[in-house]
């Protein structure tokens, strides 16, 4: 299983999704489209998302597990859904702040 730490990047093996870890540390079964994610640059890119994990990812959105132990940010969207083990990650809705800079 890959080692997660904030800032580490992962790519889907079955779609174009790429994420960056915002929160979470240690080994985790991070998946996309039902398949384990690979470190960025090491994904084979073959295959297709499994039907029960094919909801897609959205650019710039954050995804969390139910307990919010991990949080990832989508840096490239794709057709697969993110998951931790068999459980799908949920889209974290955050009200954007007005631009102050």
């Amino acid at each position: 299983m890959p080692e997660l730490k904030p800032g580490s990047r992962f790519a889907s093996d079955v779609c174009t999704t790429e994420v960056i870890v915002v929160k979470g540390a240690g080994e985790a079964d991070l998946r996309c489209g039902g398949a384990p994610m690979a470190s960025a640059g090491a994904a084979s890119g073959g295959g297709t998302p499994s039907p029960d994990a094919a909801g897609g990812t959205l650019m710039g959105k954050r995804y969390v597990d139910a307990d919010e132990t991990i949080e990832v940010l989508c840096t490239k969207p794709g057709d697969g859904s993110l998951g931790l083990g068999d459980a799908l990650l949920e889209l974290k809705e955050a009200k954007p702040l007005p631009a102050s800079d």
């Binding site: 800032g7 710039g60 007005p98 800079d101």
Partner: protein, 513 residues
């Protein structure tokens, strides 16, 4: 740096900085930052300094320094040659990117190698296709990203340390990745050595918003850039906004004006905003969303925001307590805790005045070579006074210490007083800030004359103003010199500036910020 890599990977073809025609894309910015990192490393420097106005070289050098794992140090180019050289000496060995017309100001210093900004940009442009592989970034890195010299109260500037983890926390906590539409553009007119100038680059890069730079602020040029570049958001300090308001008012012909139709959002901060100015601005720009941002260098910029709806609600309200929110800093960011403490560090009841303390991952509170100012449980005492109202709006009453903030620039009273007291006709002197609609604060000097006054008072006042101007800089010259019999001191010999400010309140313009 990781922020820029994400931007380059996510939306590399968008223009990052400059005009739509001829600006640098995010990918080009990334590649140039990588190439500049090689150059900075090769110089054997421990820091990358910049003594220059805003240009494309600013984001390149900021990210290039991070790439090379070196602190970026924007220096105030308005300092005197001696002051600038002293600061550069403190960060040596350093490589300094400078304005071509100011090469001489930092040349010949031990441990400081100087690079002409235009030459750097030209060199980097020649390396366009030399893509450098990005190393692994550490998002929670302890490395120093930015060193910002504060003006400080004692005269000796302190170097605030902003680590990568502080800045990444700030950006991730307050900005949505690629949250900006492709048509959006932000106008940056605050100088690089102001924390807002640094935050503007990081936030807008992460949001995917094009940055348009105005190197030297001028209201006409600012308004012109908003119109020609289709600027959608901007950040200004209070003095800039009052100039912009004046400029827009002068444009009104027969009650009609072009206004600034593209400007969706205008953020202001960096000092007290006079209420008349913000009220007039809201009237002149009815379609613009106003945001008041409160923050400090040591907190990686913004910690509290007064949002657009808060502004309109306050302006429309008949309730003075709601209207008073217009003068507040709004509510703390979701990632920030705010606590109002008394002199012993005990939290005061809601509504009571005290010192503003803040806590959060973006809060540094650390100066190079000094003990951290954070409490063991992570609170940063800001030295700003204020209170929190029932609805959770933070009201900032000003520095607890005595720095005068004129036009967004901190002015240390001690420096002015030293010059005044050095004059043979002066036995004692104090400089204080009093309310001023245009500048936020005006500098008033209270002077006790020595011996029997010989010169005419008005003439002597002008002479003292000239003495300060000659010794320091024009922005530190007292706007008004008044003569008093004695200054108020307490029994331990400490000057009671509060008493003096009250005594001389009639020399302010009575504006209520």
């Amino acid at each position: 740096m990781m922020l820029l890599e994400m931007a380059a990977a996510g939306f590399g073809d968008r223009i990052a900085v400059g005009s739509l025609d001829g600006g640098l894309t995010f990918q080009q910015l990334f590649d140039r930052a990588g190439a500049s990192a090689d150059r900075f490393r090769a110089a054997g420097a421990d820091a990358v300094a910049m003594a220059d106005v805003s240009s494309a070289a600013l984001p390149i050098s900021l990210f290039g320094a991070a790439w090379a794992d070196l602190p970026f140090v924007p220096l105030n180019y308005r300092l005197t040659d001696d002051e600038l050289a002293t600061l550069a000496g403190r960060i040596a060995p350093a490589i300094a990117v400078v304005d071509p017309s100011a090469i001489g100001r930092l040349s010949g210093l031990d441990g400081v190698s100087v690079v002409d900004r235009d030459a750097l940009l030209a060199d980097l442009a020649d390396l366009v296709d030399a893509t450098v592989p990005a190393p692994e970034w550490d998002m929670v890195g302890e490395g120093t990203a930015i060193l910002l010299f504060t003006s400080g109260t004692t005269g000796e500037p302190k170097a605030a340390v902003l680590r990568h983890r502080h800045l990444v926390s700030y950006v991730l906590g307050s900005v949505e990745f690629m949250g900006a539409g492709e048509e959006e553009a932000a106008l940056v007119s605050v100088p690089p050595y102001h924390v807002a100038g640094m935050a503007a680059i990081l936030s807008n890069v992460y949001a995917g918003r094009r940055i348009v730079q105005l190197p030297a602020f001028d209201a006409a040029a600012w308004v012109d850039l908003v119109r020609t570049e289709g600027v959608t958001s901007a950040m200004v300090v209070p003095t800039m906004l009052s100039r912009i308001v004046e400029h827009l008012e002068a444009e009104i012909v027969d009650g009609e004006t072009v206004g600034l139709p593209t400007l969706r959002s205008l953020s202001y901060g960096g000092g007290k905003m006079p209420r008349p100015t913000i009220e007039r601005a809201l009237e002149l720009l009815p379609d613009t969303a106003f945001v008041n941002a409160y923050g400090l260098t040591e907190t990686s910029s913004t910690v509290a925001l007064l949002g657009p709806e808060d502004h309109r609600e306050a302006l429309a309200s008949d309730d003075e307590s709601v209207r008073a929110r217009l003068g507040s800093a709004g509510r703390p960011l979701p990632t920030i805790e705010v606590s109002i403490r008394d002199e012993d560090g005990t939290e005061v009841p809601t509504g009571g005045p005290g010192e503003i303390w803040v806590r959060g991952e973006q809060v540094s509170g650390e100066y190079r070579g000094m003990a951290p100012r954070l409490t063991p449980d992570g609170w940063f005492p800001t030295h700003d006074g204020g209170w929190m109202d029932d609805a959770g709006f933070l009201h900032v009453s000003g520095r607890i210490d005595d720095v005068i903030v004129k036009g967004g620039q901190n002015v240390s009273p001690g420096e002015i007083e030293a010059v005044l007291v050095a004059h043979p006709g002066v036995s004692d002197a104090a400089a204080i800030g009093l309310p001023d609609t245009q500048w936020g604060e005006r500098i008033v000097a209270a002077v006790v004359r020595s011996g029997e006054p010989t010169a005419d008072a008005d003439q002597f006042a002008v002479e003292l103003q000239e003495a300060v101007r000659a010794e320091l800089r024009s922005n530190r010259t007292p706007d008004h010199v008044t003569f008093v019999d004695a200054l108020p001191y307490n029994d331990t010999g400490k000057l009671l500036r509060r008493v003096l400010r009250a005594d001389l309140a009639h020399l302010g313009d009575g504006s209520t910020p």
